[in-house]
C-alpha cells in the first residue's frame, strides 16, 4: 500500500491504484479541478499545473477552494 495525506487525512492506495498525478487524484476524489488550488508538501500548485504534477508515496496534499466569506 501507498498513502497520501489529503487535507489532513491519510488515504491508502494499493500500489497499482495510486494516483500518478494531482489531476488523477482529483478525479478519484470527484473534485472539479477548475475550482481548486493545491499545495503538495507545502509547494503551491495552480490549477493549470495539475496534470504535470506527479505524486509520490507519503506526500501531504492540501486542496483548497473559495467559499463564501466576509
Amino acid at each position: 500500500m501507498q498513502s497520501l495525506r489529503v487535507n489532513g487525512q491519510v488515504r491508502q492506495f494499493p500500489v497499482q491504484e495510486m494516483p500518478a498525478t494531482l489531476s488523477a487524484l482529483l478525479e478519484k476524489l470527484g473534485v472539479e479541478a477548475a475550482t481548486v488550488v493545491a499545495e503538495v508538501d507545502g509547494r503551491i500548485v495552480g490549477p493549470g499545473e495539475f496534470t504535470r504534477t506527479p505524486l509520490a508515496d507519503g506526500q501531504s496534499i492540501e486542496l483548497v477552494k473559495f467559499m463564501g466569506g466576509g
Binding site: 486542496l63 477552494k65 467559499m67 463564501g68 466569506g69
Partner: protein
C-alpha cells in the same frame, strides 16, 4: 460623485460585500446584484472531500465583481501569508483582504501579526487591504509600509453593534492618505450611513445583509444608505450645537 480609488482602480460603488452566511448561492448572487457592489470578499478553505461540488465562485460573475480573497481563519502572520499566496495562485489576482484573528470569541485582529504579514505581502507585490482594530497608530504604520487601504472595525465581526469605535475612526479618517474602509459590525443601513457621513471612503457589509429576512431588500437599503452618507459628507454637514438655533426668522412676529 467622485469614485473610490484603490491601488489605481476606480469603483463607482463604495459598498463592499462579503459572501458568507447566505442561505443559498442564489440568494447571495441576488443580493450582490441589488447592492451595486463591485468588490466582493471570499474565503479560502479546505475542499470538503465528501461534498466537493459546493461551489460559491460559480455564482459570482468575475467580469462584474472584483474578487477580494480574505485570509480569514489565519491566526498568525505566517498562516495569512500562506493563504494569500494560495488565493493568488487560484485567482491570478493579487488583491487580498488581510485578516489575522487569533481570538475566537471577539475575532479581534492581532495588530502585531497583521503588520508583520502586511510587510511581507506588500514586498511580494500584493495589494493589501488589512482588517484592523480602530487603532490610528497602526493605521498609519500600515499605510506607511504601503497597504492599499486600511479597514478598521466598527465593532466585532457579525455583532451588528454599529460604530462603537467612532472616535478612533474619526482620527484614522483624518490622518489617512489611503482609503478607509469601515469593516465589521455594521448591522443597519444607518450605521453605514454614519460611517460615510464622518468621511469613511467605503464600508464592507456581510452579516447584516446575508442574515436579514430579505437579503435583497437589505442590500438595496445599504446601497442607498452608503450613497446618502457619502453625499451628506460631501455636502459639509454642520456641527451639533448645545442650544437651539431658530430655522425661521426671529423678526416680524404677530405681536406688539
Amino acid at each position: 460623485m467622485s469614485k473610490l480609488a484603490i491601488a489605481g482602480r476606480e469603483f463607482a460603488s463604495r459598498l463592499l460585500l462579503g459572501t458568507g452566511k447566505f442561505a443559498s448561492p442564489q440568494a447571495m448572487a441576488d443580493a450582490l446584484a441589488a447592492s451595486g457592489a463591485e468588490i466582493v470578499t471570499v474565503a479560502l478553505r479546505r475542499v470538503d472531500i465528501d461534498n466537493p461540488q459546493d461551489d460559491t465562485l460559480r455564482h459570482i460573475d468575475r467580469n462584474r465583481f472584483l474578487l477580494l480573497p480574505n485570509t480569514s481563519g489565519a491566526r498568525t502572520a505566517e498562516e495569512a501569508v500562506r493563504l494569500s499566496r494560495l488565493a493568488r495562485a487560484a485567482t491570478g489576482i493579487n488583491w487580498v483582504k488581510l485578516e489575522v484573528t487569533p481570538d475566537p470569541y471577539y475575532l479581534l485582529p492581532d495588530p502585531v501579526e497583521t503588520l508583520k504579514a502586511a510587510e511581507t505581502l506588500v514586498k511580494e507585490g500584493f495589494v493589501v487591504l488589512p482588517y484592523i482594530n480602530a487603532d490610528p497608530i497602526l493605521a498609519r504604520r500600515l499605510q506607511d509600509i504601503g497597504t492599499a487601504t486600511v479597514m478598521p472595525l466598527g465593532s466585532p465581526i457579525g455583532s451588528n453593534q454599529g460604530l462603537r469605535t467612532r472616535a478612533a475612526l474619526e482620527i484614522i479618517i483624518e490622518q489617512s492618505h489611503v482609503p478607509v474602509v469601515v469593516d465589521a459590525g455594521l448591522g443597519l443601513p444607518s450605521h453605514a450611513a454614519e460611517a460615510m457621513e464622518i468621511g469613511a471612503d467605503a464600508v464592507l457589509i456581510n452579516t447584516a445583509i446575508a442574515t436579514a429576512a430579505e437579503p435583497v431588500e437589505m442590500a438595496a437599503a445599504f446601497r442607498l444608505a452608503v450613497e446618502a452618507g457619502r453625499k451628506a459628507y460631501l455636502s459639509g454637514p454642520r456641527a451639533p450645537t448645545d442650544k437651539a438655533e431658530a430655522s425661521s426668522p426671529l423678526t416680524g412676529f404677530l405681536r406688539d
